[in-house]
């Protein structure tokens, strides 16, 4: 009974301008990626994405994601568990630290790794003596991506694990469940949608990360270029169509991520509604 309902005209104007804005800022660029990618026909698109350098970039990108995402899931769950379920000194400091990669510019993150593992960095000489390459090699790319994407899973889980408390886990323990049984049967079902959500965000970023990876990559074609780096290079070589063809792969990853994300949201919301309904 408080707010006066907006006039139909005002509502129409607001909604349609929001839609136009979304279309201009988000949808149009996305569509233009695909238009540019297929400008030269499907054949040209296929040639661009099956070029050995593009394939190498795709492989490297998938490798990076395949390593980074599981590691971040494990780290994120452990961090979420430790921070959400236990009280210990330094806990709030740790929560702040988890967000550090978001606060630091990716370029700086990349430089940090050069500072640590570069030839003249802290550990560089030691590694170099043993013939281990970190920087300007896939390892460095994986490390940098790991750093940049670390918060995604942990951030999704901490608030949830905090709010759900420890009761169900304790109940499981007195009923005789071991650590892993408790985790897989009780904790995981409670966090699975948030976890999925975090995994999607983490994957999307791991695949799409440019800044930090650019710093540690060394840009060796067919070897240390990820998809985003390859796109930039192609574009700089005036091979616009090829650049957008490869970019369309990235756009597809983004689209899949969006759809799965929307589904995850929907399901987790449904659960929420049910829970609330029950309480009343």
């Amino acid at each position: 009974m408080s707010a006066r309902p907006a006039s139909p005209f005002a509502r129409f104007a607001l909604v349609s301008s929001a839609l136009v804005l979304v279309a201009l800022i988000l949808v149009l660029p996305l569509i233009s990626v695909f238009i540019e990618a297929f400008r030269g026909g499907v054949q040209a698109w296929f040639e661009a994405v099956s070029h050995p350098d593009a394939v190498a970039a795709l492989k490297l990108t998938l490798w990076v994601a395949a390593i980074v995402v599981p590691v971040n899931v494990i780290l994120g769950v452990v961090a979420g568990w430790a921070l959400g379920k236990f009280e210990f000194p330094g806990r709030s400091l740790l929560i702040t630290l988890i967000d550090l990669p978001f606060a630091v510019s990716p370029v700086v993150a990349g430089l940090l790794f050069i500072l640590l593992f570069g030839r003249r960095g802290w550990f560089g000489p030691w590694l170099g003596d043993r013939g281990l390459e970190v920087i300007f090699a896939p390892t460095g790319i994986i490390l940098a991506t790991l750093f940049v994407t670390f918060p995604f899973v942990a951030r999704e889980l901490i608030p949830l694990m905090q709010s759900s408390g420890n009761e169900e886990e304790e109940a499981a323990r007195v009923l005789g469940a071991g650590f892993f049984q408790t985790f897989f049967r009780v904790t995981l079902p409670n966090i699975k949608w948030a976890l999925l959500y975090g995994i999607i965000l983490c994957t999307a970023r791991a695949v799409g990360e440019f800044g930090a990876v650019s710093v540690v990559s060394g840009h060796i074609r067919g070897q240390t270029n990820t998809l985003p780096l390859e796109v930039e290079i192609l574009y700089n070589e005036y091979r616009t169509q090829a650049a957008f063809s490869v970019a369309s792969l990235l756009a597809c990853v983004a689209l899949v991520a969006l759809v799965v994300k929307a589904l995850a949201r929907k399901y987790s919301n449904e659960r929420h509604r049910n829970d609330e309904k029950g309480v009343r």
């Binding site: 570069g118 030839r119 003249r120 960095g121 390459e133 300007f136 060394g218 840009h219 074609r221 070897q223």
Partner: protein, 324 residues
């Protein structure tokens, strides 16, 4: 029984040599050049030694690439825009200090210069450096603070004025006039080229000759035209072996052959095709290079360090000009 007595195959006892790979760390505009040159060298090496060699390329801003090599990027050879950048690597101990003397022509297999790219038919009638300072003209050049190429643009204009005996004051006036005509400063050469060619901004683009030739061949290039000024600066992008890497990997022989092949007839001709001015007169016939009176940076500014200190360091000439 006979089967047991047979000696094992020879190859089983002597391990196969590791596949030969070279990493050439280069600057941005040479991508297309080395793509073709590498293929040619691989054929040449196979024919003369029977060995397969794979060549990896890394491209980026010249200064950034030097920095990466210093930080551990495992280049066998560096082919950069400026002697200054190779000197930086040398002073970190990875390259012998006397690298310049190791290959012909001061280790510079080809040269380039700065030219103008204008709209088809040259509607604004731009012929020389003075024309660029005309009020109302729009000039596209990247930022000399961030782009090596842009510094050459700047120094070429400055040198042109000095060559015409206008003195430092006259040179400053010319450069000031030109930069007054720059609507936006892109951070890199490729960005500036895109601004001019693909976005259609500006009346004239200051560019490397080889970049200009490449742009003419790229989509939209048919609406452009190249203008060579009567006087311009001679750029000498040098090459060098990274001693530390080749000694560790045992690739010195092939790395040296690779760089030397740049001076061969085939290497020179490929350079010419890609718009670099070759050292040999035969290769120069591959493409007609406009007659430009070229002066070296050293002859006008002394050295790259001096030019940098006087013009591009913080608070130096460029800052004073552009802040106005």
């Amino acid at each position: 029984m006979a089967a047991f007595a047979a000696p094992p195959p020879v190859s089983a006892s002597a391990p196969a040599p590791p596949p030969l790979t070279l990493l050439n760390v280069s600057y941005d505009p040479t991508r297309e050049l080395y793509q073709e040159f590498n293929a040619a060298f691989i054929r040449h090496w196979k024919k003369t030694t029977g060995q397969d060699v794979a060549i990896k390329q890394s491209h980026g801003g010249s200064g950034k690439q030097a920095r990466s090599v210093i930080d551990g990027l495992g280049a066998d050879v560096v082919t950069l825009a400026l002697a200054h950048d190779i000197d930086a690597i040398a002073s970190s101990g990875l390259i012998a200090k006397d690298w310049r003397g190791k290959l012909p022509q001061g280790s510079t297999p080809f040269t380039s210069t700065i030219v103008f790219l204008v709209r088809k038919g040259n509607p604004k009638g731009i012929r020389d450096w003075e024309a660029l300072a005309r009020p109302g003209l729009s000039v596209i050049t990247p930022n000399p603070k961030t782009s090596g190429g842009a510094r050459w643009n700047y120094l070429a204009a400055w040198g042109d004025a000095l060559k015409k005996n206008k003195g430092d004051a006259g040179a400053r006036a010319l450069v000031e006039g030109i930069f007054k005509n720059v609507p936006v400063l892109d951070s890199g050469a490729r960005g500036a080229t895109t601004t001019f060619v693909q976005r259609g901004m500006g009346d004239v683009l200051l560019a490397w000759e080889n970049e200009a030739i490449l742009a003419l061949k790229s989509p939209g290039g048919d609406r452009l035209e190249m203008v060579a000024p009567p006087v311009s600066i001679l750029a000498e992008p040098p090459v060098a072996i990274v001693d530390r890497t080749v000694d560790k990997k045992g690739t010195r022989a092939v790395a040296e052959a690779y760089l030397r092949y740049l001076y061969s007839p085939e290497g020179q001709s490929i350079a010419a095709q890609h718009g670099y001015r070759p050292r040999t007169p035969e290769a120069a016939k591959v493409r007609a290079f406009a007659p430009v009176k070229l002066f070296t940076l050293e002859s006008v500014f002394g050295s790259w360090e001096k030019a940098h200190a006087a013009h591009f360091a913080d608070g130096a000439s460029f800052d004073r000009i552009y802040q106005k």
